[in-house]
Assembly symmetry: C2
DNA sequence: GTCACCAGACCGTCCGGTCGGTACAGTCGC
DNA sequence: GCGACTGTACCGACCGGACGGTCTGGTGAC
């Protein structure tokens, strides 16, 4: 199970990051302003800048929290299943973390589009983490292509939703998630 | 083959749209400003605003050109192959248009992230077009999930590149495109 | 002339960031 | 206990620059 304070976050820094994610999703990544974040968080701009000395610092913190959060959740879920998991099983948990996010945390990916829009250089960090995951998956029996395609489809769903491009109904979405998890298992088969 | 003036576009409107795409890719979707576009196009702000009365108009035109361009290219390629193509063959051409874009037109997708960042409501148009494509694909023998997953993977690759999230080398990328085209053919098989 | 096309000065607003100040909780000497 | 002092959290007025958009004027084609 996942917690990290589903209901209004008590830690001020976390509350501010939540507010920033909301601001991005509700007004668009191009309208992420300090005033907007402060207003969403119910705090003054001074208060916001007390915790994050600059907008860049805010963006970095958003991205860092997003990435760390995913790894933490994947690790937790793997630990929760006990024993040592195969690479496929770990992949499966990662996909589930990415796509079956708790509703309260659905906004987390906003960090991606905010950083990309405002300070694209920050994305280097993300690419590097992506690369690591990819290299692990390439070692699966199914080979590089098959795993990468599953990962790409996960990205497509996630990014499509963030950019408001995705036209899928919730029912269709859950069918797709199910199909993706099945595709993950296929990565375990020898090509 | 694809043309639409590979070398510096002669039509002023098109040149300005090209410049806007470049501005987005080089500085990030959040830094798409009229001044930047004008500078990239080698024109004054007045000149830019003569062709696009407002920033919103520019964004709309970018998006419209992007969408229309894809449909035009798909239609051209289908026509080029002569006879009536099956749904699978058309799907195949669409994937190739989306992923094997002429280098000069690689920037076209910038319209997506620019609109999403600056005026998310414009994305409704894109969602609707996406929906249409999706409904056609759902009728394929492979069923909804299989086609949608391929489309999602295409999105993942495309959007990942636009957001600078994609860590794939050119060599890996072409392997992925090949694998995707094979996956398209799988959509023709009965489930 | 006039009309499309363009230049660039200009204006009001917005945005990131600074700064001086307030509130309050601790804590240390006495 | 009590006053002096320190550190943390926060407020909000303010500044300079950037940005979207207006306006005036110019230039070349016809």
């Amino acid at each position: 199970m996942y917690f990290r304070n589903p209901i209004p976050n008590s830690l001020p820094r976390e509350r501010l990051l939540d507010a920033a994610e909301r601001a991005v999703l509700e007004t668009g990544a191009g309208h992420l302003t300090l005033d907007a974040v402060a207003k969403f968080a119910g705090v003054s701009k001074g208060g916001l800048l007390h915790h994050f000395p600059s907008k860049d610092a805010l963006l970095e913190a958003m991205l860092e929290r997003y990435l760390k959060d995913i790894e933490t959740q994947v690790a937790e879920r793997c630990a929760g299943r006990g024993g040592t998991l195969t690479a496929i099983e770990q992949f499966r948990e990662r996909v589930r973390v990415l796509l079956e996010q708790h509703p309260e945390r659905r906004a987390a990916g906003a960090a991606l589009i905010a950083a990309s829009a405002d300070k694209p250089d920050l994305m280097a960090h993300c690419r590097a983490e992506y690369r690591e995951v990819l290299d692990e998956l390439a070692a699966l029996p199914g080979g590089f292509e098959r795993s990468a395609l599953v990962l790409l489809a996960v990205d497509g769903l996630l990014l499509g939703e963030l950019l408001r491009l995705s036209p899928y109904t919730p029912e269709e979405r859950s069918r797709l998630v199910k199909a993706l998890l099945k595709a993950v298992d296929q990565c375990g088969r020898i090509q």
